[in-house]
């Protein structure tokens, strides 16, 4: 497929990450606690919403959020600027951890008839509890998230920014230090790849029935935008 990594060195002098990342990294390395607070204020909402999307479980999402930021604090060198923006790194880390967690919970089977939409439909209190039974058969959502985590990193970065952080392709281009064409290209490769994966898997479509009406893709409505 056309979607292999096309890593391209930025053509202009743009840095590949926002300068703020560099300052935060430096302060984290040298133990300035207020830098952790700032990172949390800036990206906590994003991290939590990503964890929640994948895990469908509020307490789990809280815990993952705490883990992600504790890791940022304890292992600051792992976040060297220049290997992706801090925003994408944290978002992807939350995503990975949530997937790992869901997988770990899998064997403890439950009702086999997974209702992919249950998570969304569930009303407030229900959702805290439904987590376990839902795991037996991976929902299309979960399969998609797994497929996303398997994409080449540059595509993951762009997708996280668009999908979860509510960034448009111009902002993505700036944040990743790539031309806008490249940002659109990565989004296209990623989304097509994911759509193909979904089709391959037969998209049992969830009991709810096959492709809903076209339309409103409206990512980033949640923690995204406010997650700055």
């Amino acid at each position: 497929m056309a979607s292999h990594t096309h890593e391209v060195v930025p053509v202009d002098g743009t840095t590949r990450y926002p300068p703020r990342d560099e300052q935060l990294h430096r302060r984290l390395v040298y133990g300035d606690e207020s830098a952790l607070g700032e990172a949390y204020d800036a990206f906590g909402g994003l991290v939590r919403s990503v964890a929640l999307r994948v895990s469908g479980n509020v307490p789990a999402a809280e815990e993952i959020t705490r883990e992600v930021f504790t890791y940022l604090w304890v292992c600051p060198y792992a976040f060297v600027p220049g290997r992706g923006s801090l925003r994408t790194r944290l978002s992807m880390l939350a995503h990975r951890r949530a997937l790992t967690r869901v997988r770990a919970a899998e064997p403890e089977a439950g009702a086999a008839d997974a209702r992919p939409d249950a998570a969304d439909a569930g009303s407030g209190a229900a959702e805290v509890n439904h987590a376990a039974p839902e795991r037996a058969v991976p929902t299309p959502e979960l399969r998609l998230h797994r497929a996303l985590a398997a994409l080449p990193l540059p595509q993951q970065e762009a997708t996280h920014l668009a999908c979860f952080a509510g960034r448009n392709y111009r902002q993505i281009a700036v944040e990743l230090g790539i031309p806008e064409d490249m940002a659109r290209f990565r989004l296209r490769s990623a989304l097509r790849g994911l759509t193909d994966r979904l089709a391959e898997a037969g998209h049992p479509g969830g009991p709810a029935g096959p492709p809903e009406p076209p339309g409103p893709a409206r990512p980033g409505q949640s923690g995204g935008r406010s997650a700055g």
Partner: protein, 402 residues
Amino acid sequence: MTADEGSGEHGPKGPDESGSAHGEDGGGAGAQGTPAESGAGSGPGRTAGHEAADEAGHEEVSRLLAAWALGAAMPGDDARVRAHLAGCRPCAAEAERLAATVRLLAGPAGGTAKSPARKGNAGLARGRLMASARAARPGHGPLAAHAAPYSGAVAGLEALLRELDDSPARWGTPVVHDWDVQGTLAHLIAADEVLAERLGLAPVTGARPSSAGAGAPWELRWVARTDEVVAYEHTRPTAETFEAWRTQAHGLLALPESADEQLAAAATTLMGLRLPVADHYVIRAFETWVHTRDIGRALGVTVPPPLPTHLQRMVGLAVRILDLALGPMARPVLLSVEGEAGGDWVLGSDAEPIAAELVLEAVDFCLLVGGRLEPGEIPRGHAGDAVASQRVLETAASLAWL
């Protein structure tokens, strides 16, 4: 421009728009007008006419489609995409497929709806995070400005060494001189020990002080001591060396001298330098940072420059020591250190007009003084008497006390 064009074309389609509005909104997705809304609803077979003919437009929209489906297009793109979709079945079908994926991937997350309710807990969650972070990587109590750079350097080295926990073999990576990571840390233990001992801390290493040459010059005693400690530390597990270094470093930071400026103003001579205790703390920071950088380079980890306020302190001290080393008779040179931690100083005699100006970057200057850059390789700006400038650079390099 394109937006105009788009809306122009869009005009005739008014009815279609409303027609397709039915189609949207699978789940709770509907909301403030985001692009995709009526999107692929090419609906009532829009007279496959004029727009479809536009090949270039097709190409362009097709490149844009994924971004648009993700809600990541620019506001101006929207009308153009919609207009095209209304007349292009393949694109409309593709948009539909992509949109279905996006709905699954980015549809409302499980509990987002309740976020307002959880708002009250936000502060709590933040507090809990900070507490668990602090427990996992503790900081220090209040420190005076002279001890902050050392505290920062210790935090930076400690975090770096923690990352070695997973791969014990990397402790054996050669770093500088003939030291591996453990040896470098042992060297730091020996170097910190001089100040620790002076301030009354108990020794942390079992290396016996050599009886050899109690009356010998400090350089010789110091070399002998560092050799002893390095040799001793290599006989025990790296975790113990790490712990010994930590204990001593945190011990120094827990002393009243690290929090009390008055107390730290007392001068004492260590390693041939008679300076206030406060400055000795800054020297510890300097050396700790330089070796952290050494270890980072050996391991392929980027160690950032010290924080600006810390760097400033280090530069200021290095300049004073450099000035002492040049002596009062040296031809005066204006040294400009650039960057966030910079400043201007006149070095050497104050009885003569300035012979030269030398411009260096702050981190480069520290690396020169720390013996990690040669005078020949340091980027500089220079004007005036080259001999005088050269002398400053060479003297700075010869300070290397690390």
